[in-house]
């Protein structure tokens, strides 16, 4: 600072201060890069482990046959669990999607800041509720005194999905420019028609992505299944209101608890099916979003 700067000096790091700053800079950059790589590595390791352990199980019959029902016997598939999981998640989505989107519409289009803030907070708190707590609540509401049903599990998953869908949808609706709403209003179009005709279509890709992410999250939830849909027979059924439905998370849980190697293998196989379903869903959602964005942007 006291030494006057000589502008003609070579532009290389000569002073100790500058060299030290460069070292710190490189170190921090290295650590941050490493952290980013760790995130990728964890995902890769999990997928590779599940895939290498589960791949040997994968076969047409694994996906299309019901379990044998014989203790410790090899063979049999997880068809009933795939169907059951699909049913439970589909019914949960059918309940959570309209509710979540309507909440988001209320928050972005109708509410005043004073009412929106507590509702957003409530959604965030709901989102943070442990799934076992939600499961116990639904158990007391629908199962106790009656029996386990697939619907009870759907109900619990819907509670888990609503805040996810509402929050992502709300973020997407907020991205829709106010000018588009103004343009529609200036044409003498009512608020509701504006929302249905302009706001929601503009945000559709984002809403679908939010839905798929919520589905992916719900499909793997295990705690609600343990309490609400874990006592089931071996056969495939879609009687979601009458009985508990077999489902993938519970199969993974119970088979990995078992003492038989054939059950362990089946657990890995089921885990691979679940993870593949979630990954494919995620990537499809993103691709859909990108395609829609391109279509809107392109001429």
């Amino acid at each position: 600072m006291s030494v006057p700067l000589d502008p003609a000096r070579p532009l290389t790091a000569t002073g100790g201060n500058l060299r030290r700053r460069r070292r710190v800079d490189q170190t921090v950059r290295g650590i941050a890069t490493l952290a980013a790589l760790v995130a990728v590595a964890i995902l890769v390791i999990v997928i590779v482990t599940v895939a290498s352990n589960g791949a040997s199980q994968l076969s047409i019959s694994f996906l299309t046959k019901d379990p044998t029902g014989v203790l410790g016997a090899a063979g049999g598939g997880i068809a009933s669990a795939i169907v059951g999981s699909a049913m439970i998640v589909a019914v949960a989505t059918a309940m959570a999607l309209p509710l979540g989107v309507l909440i988001a519409i209320y928050l972005t289009e109708f509410s005043k800041p004073r009412t929106a803030r507590p509702i957003r907070l409530a959604l965030d708190l709901l989102n943070g509720l442990p799934s076992i707590v939600i499961a116990v609540f639904v158990f007391g509401l629908l199962v106790e005194g009656h029996q386990q049903t697939g619907f009870a599990a759907s109900f619990a998953l819907a509670i888990i999905m609503v805040p996810l869908i509402a929050r992502t949808t709300q973020e997407m609706l907020r991205l829709v420019p106010q000018e588009l709403r103004d343009a529609s209003h200036a044409l003498g179009i009512s608020r509701w028609r504006t929302i249905v005709g302009i706001v929601l279509p503009s945000a559709l890709g984002g809403i679908l992505t939010g839905m798929v992410l919520a589905v992916a999250r719900a499909a793997g939830e295990t705690a609600p299944m343990l309490l609400l849909s874990s006592i089931f027979g071996v056969g495939t059924t879609i009687n979601i209101f009458g009985t508990a439905l077999p489902n993938i998370p519970y199969i993974i849980f119970s088979d990995s608890e078992s003492g038989f190697p054939s059950d362990h293998a089946r657990a890995w196989g089921a885990a691979l099916v679940l993870i593949a379903f979630i990954l494919v869903g995620n990537l499809t959602a993103r691709a859909m979003l990108a395609r829609q964005r391109r279509r809107i942007m392109s001429r």
């Binding site: 000018e179 588009l180 209003h185 200036a186 044409l187 003498g188």
Partner: protein, 288 residues
Amino acid sequence: MDTSQPEADASGAPPLAPLAITTREGPPTTATEVVFELRDLGVYYGRTLAVDGVSMKVYKNVITAMIGPSGCGKSTVVRTLNRMNDSVPGFRVTGEALYHDNDIYGPGVDPVEVRRRIGMVFQRPNPFPKSIYDNVAWAPRILGMKSGLDERVEKALRGAALWDEVKDRLKGSALGLSGGQQQRLCIARSIAIEPDVLLLDEPCSALDPIATASVEELMQDLKRTYTLVIVTHNMQQAARVAERTAFFSLDVSNGRRAGVLIEYDDTEKLFTRPNDKRTEDYVTGRFG
């Protein structure tokens, strides 16, 4: 389709009204029907008085310009005319804003119906992320003007002098158009529902000079059918397109900052022989 409206097309159109007849007292003699009458209009945002004491009449089939420095309330006034400010928190009007002798803010008035008759074109082109065709056809479809929709779209696009440029790509996205084309599409979208009035809130401020010229030319066509009110901070534009011009300014006396109407007259008169010193300072470039 309703064909009672005169075509904005060259064929069979009524002859252009002579421009800017400069009678000092009254409106241009070709059109005397009053569309808007503001009586001591004041606009509040919360407790802040944004516009105060505006009284003026807007005449049918005349282009009326509102000019003035930034923050003088000209946009606020024009957005008050079709209740676009309703969504602004704390927005409140005092005085009267009459549209064909009906109070725009009277009890039971539906803002949707107000905007159905009084269309608006905004500062930045804001086409919907839909095809060119759907941009124009969407509102008529919802408002129940379903018969002859193709003809209606064509007529609106022709009316906005855009048809020849887009007729081969009606299914293409509106966002692929240039800025000037997008703005003319927004005008086409507005006139497709056959409003009575078109409000233009600085419609050319985001456009280049060539696109500006095409929109200004278009306005001369449109005024045969519609009543136009244009807000602009470009004085030359007001002088070029408008028969009547209102000059707004910011009144900062008594510790307040409110937009007020200084002078409202025939454009030629306002620009060449203004009554008020503040108008003269502004139009000669000494201020603002």
